[in-house]
Subunit: 294 residues, 2 copies
């Protein structure tokens, strides 16, 4: 009763992303006509119109939008099958941990050290990926676990263990008038006419509207702020990568950010279990430490 081949799904996803048969066919490495026919076949088999082809191009229908997300998760599951099977076959076991480049330096170090102390610790490969890419790495099996951030990353589909909760800071150019303040409120740093808030991509890869510059990784952001062209409100643990030209000011009224260790819920590997145990120990120690210093 599953009449969809992954090739067809891949075709559909590409067309849905490009909204243009020509470009989609080029990305897929085939000619347009076979692609057109494949989509028609898909629509005929499902009995559902997926794309609206009228004047001025192609648009997704409502069922088409549903299929787009379902097809993506199916394709992710298929590539996860490849990765996890190959991983299981490789002789020496290892864990792949995905994290955003440039974030959580110290925490990551602590976690790796804590895990290394586990009795049956295996090699941990750290994969640095772009903003918001960790979840896809988890879904398609390229990573066994990842560091995510609440409330930014949707966590519903994963199991998680809290690691560390910190406040937020505003990162300003060193010479800015507000940079001398000991703390700031959200209201004071939003809507500054001379310092627009930088914008980063959401989970669909699109940028929210606004006057600030778009950026895609932490180095772009750092440079833009150092140039005095932008500001950003960000996790306090980001202080590790600040430049001399930056000033970090704590925010009093911004909701805190929790870094969590996340993994696919059905994972059964003992190595991953060890990593989770290490994460729990880390968080436990931290809690005890906090309680003791009160």
């Amino acid at each position: 009763m599953d009449l969809l081949e992954t090739r067809e799904l891949r075709y559909f996803v590409t067309v849905a992303e490009e909204l243009h048969f020509g470009r989609a066919a080029e990305r897929l490495g085939i000619a347009q006509p076979p692609l057109s026919r494949a989509i028609q076949r898909l629509e005929r088999r499902l009995g559902v119109r997926l794309l609206e082809r009228d004047r001025r191009g192609v648009a997704l229908t409502d069922p088409g939008r549903v299929l787009l997300v379902e097809a993506r998760t199916t394709l992710d599951a298929a590539t996860a099958a490849v990765h996890r099977t190959r991983r299981a076959a490789s002789s020496r076991e290892r864990l792949v941990l995905a994290t955003k480049a440039g974030a959580d330096h110290e925490l990551l170090r602590e976690l790796l050290d804590a895990y290394a102390a586990e009795p049956d610790a295996v090699e941990v490969e750290v994969v640095l990926c772009g903003i918001g890419e960790q979840r896809r790495l988890l879904r398609d099996g390229r990573a066994d676990a990842a560091l995510l951030h609440r409330p930014f990353d949707p966590l519903a589909e994963f199991d998680t263990e809290d690691l560390l909760t910190v406040g937020r800071i505003a990162v300003l150019p060193a010479g800015h008038p507000l940079a001398t303040r000991p703390s700031l409120s959200m209201a004071e740093v939003t809507g500054l006419p001379d310092l627009p808030a930088a914008r980063w991509p959401d989970h669909d890869g699109n940028y929210p509207p606004g006057p600030g510059p778009e950026f895609r990784d932490q180095s772009q952001l750092a440079q833009m702020i150092a140039l005095g062209r932008a500001t950003v409100v960000i996790c306090a643990s980001a202080h590790t990568w600040l430049w001399d030209e930056h000033t970090a000011v704590p925010l009093t009224d911004a909701p805190p950010i929790t870094t969590v260790l996340a993994w696919p819920p059905h994972s059964r590997s003992p190595a991953l279990a060890g990593l989770v145990r290490a994460a729990g120990r880390l968080e436990g120690h931290r809690r005890v430490g906090r309680a003791a210093t009160r």
Copy 2:
């Protein structure tokens, strides 16, 4: 990079389930040789040996076991894509709720009534399925939500809302000596030589070892107990289907069972949101009611 077609995965899963190329080919409706070649192709592409074919049949390797679960989730995702896309295309919206046949009568009634009171309630189709089948219906998109039971059903992969927690009862033949007792302990009802505990299938469809009779649905169970051949420890809400020949005795030391409403975590439908809201209201009322009667 996803080189696996769903047809190949279906072939592999069937062989892995049958552990016999001939029977698997028959189930798939093809001849053995193409099946043999397809599996070889799969192994070659993955670079992994999935099956051990020596004398006395076929066995799964460790990577083969990994691929079996990954392939199942991939196939479930593919059929979910079909179901959800078709559902989205159908004009009138509806919800499909899966529940074990013969369980949670009253609770289900309450839930449906509570949901019907929602402002934008849509038609709810109730699908009765076999023991432990609800999770698969959720995964492959045949159902939008299901009633599951903690701690029996693994809930990691779903979002859930607690509905009702009740104790457990022992169901005995009406004439049994223990049937006159006001309550019992687990120790008293396990290991009775004259009344073995009935066994039901676990999540893989296998039966745990033991002397008691195997059963697959509630009517078989009821008959077997009425005949004086078995006993069972079961959710207290099961009292709705007891016969005159049955006696239910509460257990004092058995962990309680919670019926939960479960749904796929990425669901975005407003109709489902309404059902969850109704479930929350139900549980809230119940909690208030309990508190008031204390």
